[in-house]
């Protein structure tokens, strides 16, 4: 029934990922309330919202670190909400977690090889490695440096590179711009568009509402664990409520 009430542009997109009425708790605390989102093939979808609204909780549920009490998560037509994190990755979903979560005492190169852990095809791994170095040349120049010695922006590039090493169909990023200088933020967003142009679907969580919605084909606004708005990126950007709350206009 709820499908029928969706706007037509949702129906027209073949969903790669659909999250249906997900409810997630920390102990007794109800964090996500009936959250439903969908991500179509080759889209960039952005979820925006303030601090503590449940964005990371949703991302952790997608990666299998947290479980939903009700509803379902469907990726490429298969339920994945009961799978373990490593099984979900093997389905073709890579996530750049909040805080980047690199292996600090490993070299750049080893971090990247770890990203290809789910793959067995050596040639594929070599190809991915070359592609990542092409995307982020700095990683190639500092191959044998420890990840912890990198600056925030470089770490974010490494985290994205590591996620790409697994040849994902869907790349999920939780606040990639957090704590970065404006130059790095622009670079990261440019790169995400390049990655998307190569055919990787992107689901992005951001507090940088303006930048993320302007590259997104569609966006969702989350408040207090509920999706309160959805629509094409540009349309959301011109919404009065959103302007007032997030852009301070």
């Amino acid at each position: 029934m709820s499908r029928l009430s969706r706007p037509t542009w949702v129906k027209n997109i073949m969903s790669l990922l659909s999250v249906n009425d997900v409810n997630v708790y920390y102990g007794d605390v109800h964090i996500l309330h009936d959250v439903s989102i969908s991500v179509g093939e080759k889209e960039i979808v952005s979820i925006v919202g303030g601090n503590g609204t449940g964005k990371t909780t949703l991302m952790k549920t997608l990666s299998g670190l947290l479980r939903t009490k009700t509803g379902s998560i469907i990726f490429q037509g298969q339920e994945i909400h009961h799978l373990l994190p490593y099984e979900i990755t093997r389905q073709g979903i890579s996530q750049v977690m909040e805080g980047r979560r690199l292996f600090p005492f490993m070299t750049v190169e080893d971090n990247l090889w770890m990203g290809a852990y789910p793959l067995n095809d050596r040639e594929q791994i070599q190809r991915n490695f070359a592609n990542v170095l092409h995307l982020f040349p700095i990683l190639g120049k500092r191959k044998s440096q420890m990840a912890k010695s990198f600056s925030g922006g470089e770490q974010q590039m490494l985290a994205i590179g590591r996620a790409l090493m697994a040849s994902p169909r869907l790349l999920i990023l939780d606040e990639p711009s957090l704590g970065l200088a404006p130059v790095s933020v622009s670079l990261i967003f440019d790169t995400l568009q390049q990655i998307n142009a190569k055919g990787v679907t992107i689901l992005l969580v951001e507090q940088d509402v303006k930048k993320s919605l302007s590259i997104a084909s569609r966006g969702y606004v989350i408040e207090h664990g509920r999706i309160v708005m959805e629509g094409p990126g540009q349309q959301l950007l011109s919404d009065p409520h959103l302007k007032e709350t997030y852009l301070g206009i």
Binding site: L84, Y86, R101, F103, M114, G115
Partner: protein, 292 residues
């Protein structure tokens, strides 16, 4: 002077075996964040395995190294897979306190089990090899010591290569550094725990097989070595694998060189005094907190 050099060399020989014991303890701590209180008991088990293989199968003590480490790998793998894992799963959100309690229970259980079946007496390997010596100029070495040193260094080196160069080795390091991140990029962390526990016990098994020709085995022999391994791991820096190995050498040296000047009970105290002094000045251990 030559006595001093001789004791220095002896210290390096036994220290390298201590290094292996501490290395395996440190591996489990670094990867699983658990302190395996049953470590000494597992060492004792490995020493009994070695003894029985020599005694009942009539194998040369060196050949036990082909059997004891793989058997201990199986013991460790299965212990983790079927006993520890289920406790661990219930405690993913907090420090695995239940596992600490479990390994403590396992320690007491194993000590009692071997007391029951092997008896309280200290037993030694009876084999010509045990008494062979190597004379180099002024110095006399027991053959088992030299072999212990070489083999320990070999095992330590092979283990480091494994961690640095293989896919599984990298996954072990990654899991130790950030378990959640490792699982999100596709590592089955429980499988890594199974393998790490197995490898830790295999290294411990090698240490046991190397120690037995030098010492006697009795049900509580592990307590001494286990306690020493804790001291070494803390001394070397919790979670630092190379620190554990160097820490082992240092303790071996203190024990052996100290014995030239002090009665044996005092060297035991000396080890703890030096341990406290080092911790006072460098609380994170000699080799810092770098987890590898």
């Amino acid at each position: 002077m030559s006595i001093l050099i001789q004791s220095f060399l002896n210290g390096i020989c036994s220290g390298s075996i201590y290094g292996l014991i501490a290395l395996s303890l440190s591996l489990l701590f670094g990867v699983m964040k658990i302190i395996n209180f049953a470590h000494g008991a597992f060492l004792m088990m490995a020493m009994y395995f070695t003894l029985w293989i020599c005694r009942y199968l009539g194998l040369h003590p060196q050949l036990t190294l082909l059997i004891v480490p793989p058997s201990m790998f199986a013991v460790g793998y299965l212990t983790q897979r079927f006993l520890i894992k289920s406790i661990y799963e219930k405690e993913t959100a907090r420090e695995p306190i239940g596992v600490l309690i479990f390994t403590t229970g396992l320690w007491i259980f194993l000590d009692s089990l071997f007391l029951l079946f092997a008896g309280p007496d200290a037993q030694v390997i009876k084999h010509g090899y045990v008494n062979q010596t190597l004379v180099l100029g002024d110095f006399i070495f027991s053959y088992t010591q030299i072999f212990g040193l070489l083999f320990s260094v070999l095992v330590g080196f092979a283990f480091f290569l494994f961690l640095k160069k293989t896919k599984t080795g990298r996954a072990i390091r990654a899991t130790g550094q950030d378990r959640e991140a490792a699982s999100v990029i596709g590592v089955n962390s429980y499988r890594i725990y199974d393998i790490s526990f197995g490898i830790g016990m295999a290294i411990l098994g090698a240490a046991g097989a190397l120690l037995l020709p030098l010492y006697s085995v009795y049900p509580f022999v592990g307590d001494v070595f286990g306690m020493r391994a804790f001291v070494i791991v803390v001394l070397g820096g919790m979670g630092s694998l190379s620190g554990a190995f160097w820490g082992g050498l240092i303790i071996g040296l203190i024990e052996s060189v100290g014995a030239q000047f002090l009665p044996a009970t005092f060297t035991e105290a000396l080890i703890l005094i030096i341990f406290l002094i080092i911790l006072y000045f460098k609380p994170s251990g000699l080799f810092g907190l770098e987890s590898e």
